[in-house]
Amino acid sequence: MQGELIEILLKTAVVLGVPLGVIPLIVHVERRGAAFIQKRVGPNRVGLFGIFQPLADVVKFLFKEEVVPAHVLKPLYILAPILTLVMAILPFAGIPICEPFMLGARKVYPEIFRSDLGVFYVFATTALGSYGILIAGWASNNKYTLLGSIRACAQMISYELSLSITLVALFFLYGTVDLHEIVRQQNASFFGFLPTWGVFYQPVGCLLFLVAIFAESNRLPFDLAEGESELVAGYHLEYSSMKFALFFMAEYLHMIVLSALFVLLFFGGYNLLPGFGLIVDMIPQSLPLFQFLSLFFKVALMIWFFVWVRWSIPRFRYDQLMNLGWKRLLPLGIANLMVTVLYVYWKG
């Protein structure tokens, strides 16, 4: 019992500490990346390459005056940022960061919440992510925030459909919902060099999933919820200092968890990157560590991709967004599902 408790606490520390710890780094990469793409310098004054800029930002967030406008519904107004952050953290409990490994006589599963419904859990908790935004927009008692949150919410519901339909096709293909098993099946290779990643089995599904996670995490080109030109700042307009920072962190956490899910499903997950195998052959005990590093590296690339797309593609109009979601992606997803199901059926 005590050993189990320590195990859960340690896992929680790793699975929580790493994403929360890298958020400042991601913010920095995003700002420097933006500057790089726009041919600017970006924040480079605080520390080497401006690496301490996020630290300065955090200090600013903590010490700024916290303004609670008089016209808000106070209990819900205060609850909303907390709820947003908690709902963004919850899905991390279902993300496996390495293979189950033996520690002494005990088999240790890397995810905090171990059940054979791993992906469903991640999905269920991600679906709750929109509540924080919805409550924030409504409790702020402001037309702009309400519009922003309603936009965000409608967008998340619409794109969740294509996300889940892609996932169903994957379940049929892999024949399991267990993330460990899905990752294990991606460990082989075609023709000796091309890994059997999900992206090669399901190119259409991969594309749909990619578009849907951009929409789910409310990032450009889908950040209609914030739409500065028409809604000032959207749902977090009335929030200041640390309360705003919580929304900000939740957005990045969403990005990380959806990227991790994307990598696990389509890009071989925690399977070792080329080169790591040599080290693991020498020291077999280091396998979990290097698997974690492989996943970390792939997720980092995904985050860079988020930044890259953010500064390359302009924002959609809202009707374009809805048309894309319901009239293009969803039928494409259903067609993809049908083809996959028929393929699995004929293959036997």
Partner: protein, 167 residues
């Protein structure tokens, strides 16, 4: 009492409290949010009963999809038109209370008489495979009937919304 009993009691109180707010709350949006909380409470109760699958589906479908649509619609319509008034004297609350207790009594009778059947051990195991093999063999007819019901509901909703559009 162990930790599990405390969690059970907490979940029961939590769910009951928020269910009461759903009925008696003044602000429709707060009522809808309480509905969400009670759904989550139910999910917790399912988890305590040992069915992870039901928990996940409860959160995914009820909390993730149904409650959000309620809240969404309530935010869009102007709720100030539908103010809850207590000034009108009416027999409805009294009748409602009486019928609630009659219904509660009926439920208690049914549950008490079938307590062996409703035992937690009879719940399907958490393994999805076992659950769905049962669903598609033993309970195939009820399952198919439920899908027909859903189909009818979908067609009905399309027909109703079409009529609105023509006017």
């Amino acid at each position: 009492m162990g930790l599990n009993e405390y969690i059970d009691i907490f979940l029961a109180v939590f769910t009951g409290f928020f269910s009461l707010i759903v009925v008696f709350g003044r602000n429709p949006v707060v009522c809808a949010l309480s509905l969400l909380m009670s759904f989550i409470g139910f999910a917790g109760i399912f988890f305590q009963l040992g069915s992870v699958f039901l928990t996940t589906i409860q959160v995914l479908v009820y909390a993730g999809a149904i409650a959000i649509l309620f809240i969404f619609v309530l935010m869009l319509i102007n709720t100030s038109h539908y103010k809850y008034s207590q000034t009108k004297k009416s027999i409805n609350p009294v009748l409602g209370t009486i019928f609630t207790f009659i219904l509660l009594g009926g439920f208690t009778l049914v549950i008490n008489n079938n307590i062996d059947y409703l035992n937690v051990d009879r719940l399907p195991t958490t393994s999805m495979k076992v659950l769905f093999v049962d669903l598609f063999n033993k309970y195939l007819l009820p399952f198919e009937l439920a899908t027909v019901l859903i189909l009818v509901a979908i067609v009905a909703s399309v027909v109703i919304s079409n009529k609105r559009g023509e006017k």
